[in-house]
Amino acid sequence: MSEVQPIDFKDPAAQVAAAVEELQDMQGEKMVLNMGPSHPATHGVLRIVLELDGELITRAVPDVGYLHRGDEKIAENMTYTQFIPYTDRLDYLAPMANNVAYALAVEKLLGIHDKLPPRCQYIRVICAELARISSHLLGLGAFAMDVGALTVFLLTFTEREKIYNLCESLTGARFTTSYTRIGGVSRDTPPGWCAAVRKFLNEVVVNIAEMETLLTRNKIWVDRTRDVGVISKEQAIDYGLSGPNLRGSGVDYDLRKAQPYLCYPDLQFDVPLGSVGDCYDRYLVRMEEMRQSVRLLHQCLDKIPGGPDNQSKEPVNVADGKIFLPPKNKVLSGMEELIHQFMLVTQGMNVPPGEIYFGHENPKGELGFYIHSRGGGTPYRMKIRSPSFVNLSILSALMPGHMMSDTVVILGSLDFVMGECDR
């Protein structure tokens, strides 16, 4: 007969406040520790300069930019379509979600975002939600591995492999998908793909449940993550956090609900919220978001116009030769299509002058594109509002008062990716 033992949690806010209070008295000799830029727990090339008093962190200065490639500058020098492969390399754990976000931003500027064919919208939602599951699986797997639970990492990577296989059969590439085009997607779903997604969904829920049994009530996991890295609601808003990190602090804001795009208004899903804002809450929010993504994907597969294999030949692209490349056989036989193809490839589409901001609910948070166009085929300025960059800015306020060993927990729970942070 097993006995149920309640876990007694201290009030997290009071605990952090007490730790900071204590610091005033302990003016020992401080040590400066340089963590990164190559450190397994920083998930990329993040460098943090930590000032330690014994094991307590008294100051943390994050240093980013080691992966800066100048994507915004590059974008000013190429057509809108040419930039799509660069979006793969922003958040490289969810390339398909970035593709969707970028395409939607340019379509908003073109004024065709509400003219997208329904099948295209459903395919894009499927892509974005698959990317969300993939990104969260990696984020949680790496988070758990940093804390010491290696098994979870192996489980999640097995599942991610299946998503990569789905990506490969849909786009031809496992990693750098470049799947969307301005005004559509590069190709329709291959035969049997929707059935394969359905099969994957039935498998992944089993593994999510398995992860849950390994972590959610695991005493070590709970002890390491509860009351650690507490971000209050006000702080989360003040620092501009977004995505699971914002919702982990209990702020009910999800762009899919607040500013619905694509076919999200037709789909049912819940937005999970945290209550305390600690690392454990952020873990729980991601866990539930994966289940909600599975729920969304099932609905998409049920409702996708044209059926799984598109028996009724629904279009997946806007039928506008000035925006979307015509089919190749028509290019070789028709004059108008040939001209369209030539103009699109050499000069790009003619985008009207204007400016837009579009924010997309990416797995890591709000990925926004601010595009300023002065007409023609290239953007005059494109600002990428990357969620990881903004989420990391809270580190210097969040870390002081924690133990050195909590850094990996906090970093893991914030789930950032440097390719996106540094752009």
Partner: protein
């Protein structure tokens, strides 16, 4: 209250400093005439109009025009769901405007990024250092007169690449110049 009404309230409060709200693509843009007042406007928008979330700050280089810089703020009220774009111009001689880190803490890194990339300074910023480029880097890479291929610095082989094979192609031109050489941002140097 819709975002348009809120923009009009801002106009009522600050009068001629704020332009008529312009609506395009379902977004509302207002223009602030005096960049020095940006702190007051943002504080008012946050305290009275409920814009509690700063989405983003970006910057524009209007190369060859006066004033040269435009700083663009994206404000959002999480409760109301309203969004507002606030723009203000800064001249090249001045290249400075007040910080808004005291209104939203998230402005800290955004302003550092703008300083790093465009060279616009934010007065009163607690820690205005370069963020993406390294400390001591002499140029501001997002300016239009900075070539895409990069410029050599004291650290060899860093932040410098051979120009892409696209150079000179018809797709790398930017609109606004009288001929192809003028429109090509990479061959333009500040001297000519």
């Amino acid at each position: 209250m819709t975002a348009l009404e809120q923009a009009n309230q801002l106009k009522a409060k600050f009068g001629d400093l704020i332009s008529e709200p312009a609506v395009a693509h379902g977004e509302i843009t207002i223009h602030l005439a005096d960049a020095e007042k940006i702190g007051d406007v943002c504080a008012f928008a946050k305290a009275e109009l409920g814009f509690n979330y700063l989405v983003d700050i970006s910057s524009l280089d209007n190369y060859g025009e006066d004033p040269r810089w435009t700083v663009v703020y994206h404000l959002r009220g999480l409760a109301s769901g309203c969004e507002l774009r606030l723009k203000t111009n800064v001249s090249e001689e001045k290249s400075e405007l007040p910080t808004i880190t005291n209104v939203w803490r998230t402005a800290d890194w955004h302003e550092r990024e703008i300083y790093d990339m465009m060279g616009i300074r934010f007065r009163g910023h607690p820690d205005l250092r370069r963020i993406l480029m390294w400390e001591g880097y002499p140029y501001f890479p997002l300016r239009k007169d900075f070539p895409l291929g990069g410029k050599p610095t004291q650290i060899p082989e860093v932040a410098f690449t051979q120009t892409a094979p696209l150079e000179g192609g018809p797709f790398v031109t930017a609109p606004g110049g009288k001929d192809a050489v003028e429109r090509e941002p990479r061959v333009r140097t500040p001297e000519n």
